[in-house]
Amino acid sequence: MNESFLEIRGLKKSFGSGEAKQEVLRGMDFTVKKGEFCVLLGPSGSGKSTLLNIIGGIDTPDSGYVSIGGDRLEDMSEKQLTLYRRKHLGYVFQMYNLIPNLNVKENIEVGAYLSDDPLDVEEVITTLGLQDHKYKYPNQLSGGQQQRVSIGRAVVKNPDILMCDEPTGALDYKTSKEILALIEDCNSKYGSTVIMVTHNEAIRYMADHVIKLRDGVVRHNDINEVKTPASELDW
């Protein structure tokens, strides 16, 4: 956990033009080490989701670069970017975005299909506590259960980086803690680097690395010497 895996330098991004131009990222620099649990923290409009999207290769910066394992995203073609996401990333969104006419197991298999070295689907289902629901369809599950499936779909790929965009944003307190614990487990069990976007200050305590954003710049870039397990978080 001492090598810099993800490197972000001079990242700028704005939307609109002329008077309506809005600078979302105004020069951002930081690095994340392999296997780190990194939280991007900030209020609405601080640019955290935009940053996550750029790291995920689904959005592009106006200037600056993102380098993952030495490969710079700006040099990649669309096809290479797709391949990059396919091989290295797992995505978890606030809305679970599950496929309605595939059951739990199949939704997770959708992720496994993309990977050359996927985890065992059954094992992931067990890890996520979904063994009793694996043949259920998304509309038969609660929000928390659906988010577990969504995490399963991302984790089963055995990704280098697990990208989580407000994964607990639509969930209640208890379920949120369960989901955070799951992500924590995946991080420790499978060794994936986790980059989680949240506006929930409490979550910072469970991270190795906390980057606090405001108005498109990094306000704080802190390493937690002592982490609090997700189950002990309180907000």
Binding site: Y84, L89, Y96, N97, A112, L114, Q146, K157
Partner: protein, 897 residues
């Protein structure tokens, strides 16, 4: 690992089974129908082709005015042109020699007699004899004594020899000059000397027939004209669908289709030419696959015309005149169509010259490739299948668009899932393949079931449809590779590419755009301004704008259906209209065409029938484009025009007097078919001679029964070089009974006009009615699918307005009325487009055919063709309304999934 997304396909099929069922049934029917048409068509054509070989189909035929001598037939077989010039020279020389010799003999006789008389009178005068009687007696005596020797002496004199030689020479020179002139004219007329002629060796066969009256139920009235052939003919033979060839003088085999139409069965007795025969066979003659009585008939007539086979003995006992018809077969089959035409032309040259030198006359000549009776059916069968397949492709394209729109809506609906999958690394290709699977799978299901039905049930339908219309031989199932390609590959390709185009375009958006539901490629910089209507009105307008792509497909579909409706309603209407006007389309209840205006004794043919009125008529040709819609239909040659010479103050043809010279009135059918107008000049030409006649169109005579031109009888006789009292036949209100049948070439009655429509009605009536109802169902199915898409797309909004407190009826009116407006407007516009298009299509089609009838649609049909479609829509609206009522309130509040 298999892509888990595949599992969505069967679930999608199961969850939306009613939609896919409609689509699959639709495709199965279309593909099945086309497959059946092709399999039926290939099987039928294979049997026809086989028949051509086995039953020795001619390469052409000609009819002569009298039976050909064996020498003439032998010379025709060589395919060489006769030396017409030498023939004329020989004939001229012979005649000239006879004339010169006669003149010389006469002159010599006179001179010798005068010399003897003068000698005797001189002697008498010397002897003083003055009694004239005595002198005459002396002269007679001297003539008796000296005439022979004097003649002999005169003939031997140098003077005589040189004078007669000179006379013969002069006569011969005159003959040569006359023949040369005539030969130049003839050779130019027929192109005999154009250097392109190549002899065409043929085998010639007798195929004599008689056109007898047929009384199918022995009630004493004629039911049809039957063309009777001998059973021992070596060419143009028949296959038997049932029974066998006649063996005794009282047996006959007749056409299967005709028997079917008139309800004649095996073993029935029918009266032919006044003689009773037992039907022992139902046959199909290889050269009468359709019962075209004449090659220029607009339509065949399996009711009023029949072909039959009797034994040679029975043939000899029949009374109607024998048509000396000869069929020929080329020794070297022409390789292609162009060569076919050249060969036929060369053979015709040989035929013309040979018949001329044998003092015979060609009554008709018809190469097989222009023969309607053997080409109409195969060509129609082929045309039917291509028309059906084009229809099928249009419908499959419509379905493909419906699919594309459905998928496009699904993509919109699943945009966050797609965004997530794309963000997770799914490629556009993988997603495109996934969304393409459903239409391809559904098309494959449709193609497999459709083809299975095509080879079984629908093939029977197609074959029996052909049997309903044509006198076809029995047919056996043939595997059709074309059917497989046209019903599987082409629909798949259509479905694949139309969907690929829409889906790939749709998937061009970035993952982020999908995640944000930011799905429109072009962003309106300003909101569309809409008129200041009521809130609901504006709401409806917004719905229309939102669903524009769906409406475009709906508009296309509705217009297409209206086009088909115009065909389905218009064709029977046009036939009915033409049929109902048949009595008006004939000048007289009876029109007698005579063989000549004098009978065999040289007396002018008269009748005691008081209503009879003489007329003259002649058939000429009007040039027309032969670039064809369907080759083989129509006589393939120029339009046949009947030119009438009408008696002054005719009580049958209302033709104003005072028609200037070289002017003609044209029938309204002629005017309409070729878009002519008074003042235009038309050039008509003879069929077998190179004579042309130019006329100015003076006016129109309201006559839709045929392509005809009218002038007064005197001008007619002058223009066509006829004798002043010559005529071609009689118009009459009543049947004429006092003209010998041998002198009558044809009798035309109202039945002859309506036979066209009754035949078409019989052939097409059933299928057209079925088509009408299929179209209504089709229209309803199309509207159902599209309306369903519109409502599905708006489910969340509908749910939202329900939450806001709108009543179901209000919501129904919001979502159903815009579609209703579009459907009604399109139905009316589509009908108008269809109606005018059909008028043009009919004209183009009629140009190909001989004769004319115009497209007609009754006002009731016009209304019905729109109302039926709207009825279909009404049913769909009810279903839609139920669907709207069932949309749950939580739809708007639920998750995106």
């Amino acid at each position: 690992m298999r892509n888990p997304l595949i599992r969505r396909i069967p679930r999608e099929l199961a969850s939306d089974w009613h939609k896919y069922l409609v689509i699959i049934v639709f495709m199965v029917l279309m593909i099945g129908l086309v497959s059946g048409m092709y399999v039926g068509h290939d099987s039928m054509l294979a049997s026809i082709e086989k028949g051509k070989e086995e039953l020795k189909l001619e390469d052409g035929s000609f009819e002569l005015s009298q039976k050909a001598s064996p020498e003439l037939l032998a010379d025709i077989s060589t395919g060489k042109m006769a030396d017409v010039r030498q023939y004329f020279l020989d004939k001229g020389m012979e005649e000239a020699d006879a004339e010169v010799s006669e003149a010389i003999d006469k002159e010599l006789d006179e001179q010798v007699r005068t010399a003897i008389e003068e000698g005797v009178r001189a002697q008498c005068e010397a002897y003083g004899i003055t009694d004239e009687d005595m002198i005459l007696a002396q002269i007679d005596e001297a003539v008796d004594e000296n005439y022979e020797s004097a003649i002999k002496e005169a003939r031997e004199s140098d003077e005589f020899i040189s004078a007669s030689e000179e006379a013969y020479k002069k006569a011969h020179d005159a003959v040569t000059e006359a023949v040369d002139d005539e030969w130049d004219e003839i050779s130019e007329e027929y192109g005999l000397d154009d250097g392109k002629f190549k002899p065409v060796r043929v085998s010639v066969y007798e195929d004599f027939y008689r056109d007898e009256s047929e009384d199918a139920d022995s009630d004493g009235t004629q039911d049809a004209t039957i063309r009777v052939f001998r059973s021992d003919t070596l060419i143009d033979q028949a296959s038997f669908n049932e029974g066998r060839a006649p063996k005794t003088g009282s047996e006959i085999a007749i056409d299967r289709m005709h028997a079917d139409n008139l309800g004649i069965r095996m073993g029935d007795a029918i009266t032919v030419g006044g003689k009773e025969f037992t039907v022992v066979g139902l046959l199909s003659y290889v050269h009468y696959l359709t019962l075209h009585e004449s090659n220029t008939d607009l339509m065949f007539d399996a009711f009023g015309f029949d072909v039959g086979m009797v034994t040679p003995e029975a043939f000899d006992l029949l009374r109607a005149r024998i048509h000396y018809n000869y069929a020929f077969v080329y020794e070297n089959e022409p390789a292609d169509k162009i060569e076919q035409a050249d060969t036929s032309e060369n053979f015709l040259k040989a035929l013309i010259t040979q018949t001329l030198v044998y003092d015979n006359e060609i009554k008709s000549y018809l190469p097989e490739y222009l023969r309607q009776a053997s080409n109409f059916a195969p060509s129609d069968i082929e045309g039917d299948s291509s028309a059906t397949s084009i229809l099928c492709y249009i419908l499959i394209a419509v379905i493909a668009f419906i699919f594309a729109i459905t998928i496009s809506n699904t993509i919109d609906k699943e945009s966050s899932v797609i965004g997530t999958l794309r963000a997770s690394g799914y490629s556009k290709r993988e997603l495109a393949v996934h969304y393409m699977s459903m239409p391809v799978v559904v098309t494959l299901i449709g193609a497999v079931i459709g083809n299975a039905l095509g080879y079984t049930a629908f093939r029977g339908v197609a074959v029996s449809l052909y049997y309903e219309s044509y006198s076809l031989p029995a047919c056996h199932l043939v595997w059709s590779p074309t059917a497989l390609v046209k019903t599987t590959v082409i629909p798949l390709v259509l479905m694949f590419f139309i969907n690929l185009f829409v889906i790939v375009r749709k998937l061009q958006l970035s993952p982020l755009q999908f995640l944000r539901h930011d799905l429109s490629k072009t962003r309106h910089s300003r909101a569309r301004r809409i008129p200041a209507w009521s809130f609901l009105g504006r709401f409806r307008l917004r719905i229309m704008f939102q669903n524009m792509p769906n409406y475009v497909v709906l508009i296309f579909g509705v217009i297409f259906i209206e086009l088909m409706m115009c065909f389905a309603f218009g064709l029977p209407d046009s036939l009915d209209h033409y049929g109902s006007r048949a009595p008006e389309m004939i000048f007289a209840d009876y029109q007698y065409m005579l063989m000549g205006y004098k009978d065999s004794d040289g007396d002018v043919i008269e009748t005691s029938e008081s209503s009879a009125e003489r007329f003259s008529a002649k058939t000429l040709l009007y040039p027309k484009e032969t670039g064809s819609l369907r080759s083989g239909m129509g006589s393939g040659s120029d339009e046949s025009v009947t030119v009438y010479g009408i008696s002054p103050d005719s009580s049958y043809v209302d033709m104003p007097a005072g028609l200037p010279e070289k002017n003609v009135y044209l029938s309204s059918a002629f005017i309409e078919k070729f878009g002519l107008a008074p003042g235009d000049t038309i050039t008509l030409h003879e069929e077998y001679e190179n004579k042309t006649y130019e006329f100015t169109v003076y006016g129109t005579i309201d006559y839709e029964g045929g392509i005809a031109a009218f002038m007064d009888r005197d001008s007619f006789n002058t223009v066509f070089d006829r004798k002043p009292d010559e005529f071609s036949g009689y118009f009459s209100q009543n049947e004429i009974t006092d003209i010998d049948e041998q002198d009558i070439a044809a009798v035309i009655t109202a039945d002859d006009i309506s036979k066209v429509t009754s035949q078409l009605d019989h052939s097409l009536g059933g299928i057209i009615n079925v088509m009408k109802y299929v179209l209504i169902v089709l229209a309803a199915a199309l509207i159902y699918l599209l309306a369903k898409i519109i409502i599905e797309r708006n489910e969340r909004s509908i749910s939202m307005v329900k939450i806001l407190g709108f009543k179901n009826t209000e919501i129904g009116s919001l979502y159903i009325i815009p579609t209703a407006i579009v459907v009604v407007v399109c139905a009316i516009a589509g009908f108008a487009a269809g109606y005018f298009l059909m008028i043009e299509v009919f004209k183009v089609f009629m140009l190909q055919m001989d004769g004319y009838f115009a497209y007609y649609m009754s006002p009731a049909s016009m209304i019905l063709s729109v109302v039926y479609l709207l009825l279909g829509y009404l049913v769909v609206s009810v279903v839609d309304y139920i669907r709207i009522r069932r949309i749950p309130l939580n739809e708007a509040l639920g998750n995106v999934e």
